[in-house]
Point group: D2
Chain length 139, copies 4
């Protein structure tokens, strides 16, 4: 995938389908989170490392555009990248594919806050560097 | 309902259905919790009152027996009662109906723990008294 | 709420919270659907009426912007309106409030398809008229 | 695991946690289904093979006993076996472990119905044979 170096696979659970016979659209929002967790695990010691450093990453915005329906037991590939990481904010972009075919694309925005006070706190340097390493692999 | 004095209604959400066209069986487990929360709100100051008194109620057992399928947009009545409340343990029993017809019955068991240490702690007296008041309304 | 005439209330379930102690961001996407279903029930015979007329409404886009965290047992008011209803497409806009305070705003886009063929099909006239009636109440 | 020959791993998603900081108890019910789907995929051509043969497997009973709390990002091993397969009914038993430690055990009961009429229909012979093959591997 052009511009993406990281992906993770998700197989659609039966509980994630709905009475239209397709994966419910809210399930995609959960899968984006699964992809972020896998991204952090690969590049930055994992989401728990972030939490243990006293930081929570809140989700401030979610946007999903659905291009095709997805079905039970299909395996989707979720490409993800972290962009615009500065101050206390960052963005992820995603492309969800099934056998190379576009199923959905999405972005999510996040803010880092202090775990105790829930006040905005800068993204730690180690995370910025880890993400930059990830992204430079793209070039 | 014989033996029950409390009920709460739940309308089935589209997100709670699955590709069989019925409410997914795990949704029922969530509705039981909705009923417990409503029960505590009625009789004992609410679940948040319990949490604020330094106690968490953990779920230690769930049993659901499904008698009929339930469908999107149906309103189910969940009858609930708290039984066997002693020491650090208590049990809820449930009967889920649609227009008086049995859809499922269930029980759940719980343990109260200290919110900080997660060690077992006795159910507070005010909760026992509140529940007894609730149950005596049955007689 | 300026520009909105319809709202429905949702009380946050414990199952909808996450380990950050707040309502999980994907829960909001489900509540938007709850609001759409309630909107259709009020103005257009309900979502089941739509489905029984041989039409499925697919969700093609979801956008949520989170302004404040929401917590277990809080009751949120979801204002919703249907806009840009033409051809086989329509959009809902939402404002989610807690005691009048903005918690999130959102929009979702939808396409109507034939229930058998899943090919795009025009939004039925009765639905357009029902929505226009709803919206004219705004003026 | 004594008596089990099949297992599948599930990593706990953040969306599956709750405000107690642990995996929500209803999440386990979804994971049991994930394990059944993986079991059928290994031994019997998959759950979709069952559905495509005109049969739906309904869940008629769920029982879970929780022994230890489970946490975000932990990987649980779900041991599963199919027992008592006869007529139109069968049972699964499960043991959920974390690093060999018991987290929960469970059973679920199911009934096979005709996909069109939803009337009980015998479990197909190929499924019985596939399951027997699976279980004989236990001996």
């Amino acid at each position: 995938m052009e511009g993406f170096t990281f992906s993770t696979d998700v197989t659609i659970r039966f509980a994630e389908t709905d009475a239209q016979g397709i994966a419910h659209h809210a399930s995609f929002v959960v899968w984006l989170e699964v992809a972020r967790v896998a991204f952090l695990a690969r590049y930055a010691g994992g989401y728990n490392a972030l939490r243990e450093s006293g930081i929570e990453a809140l989700t401030t915005e979610v946007h999903v555009r659905y291009h095709r329906a997805a079905y039970f037991d299909e395996t989707l590939r979720i490409w993800a990248r972290c962009v615009d990481l500065r101050g206390a904010r960052f963005t992820y972009e995603y492309r969800i594919e099934r056998d190379g075919e576009l199923v959905a694309n999405a972005y999510t925005r996040h803010a880092t806050v202090d775990r105790e006070t829930y006040r905005p706190t800068r993204v730690p340097r180690w995370l910025i560097e880890a993400v930059q390493t990830a992204e430079s692999a793209t070039a």
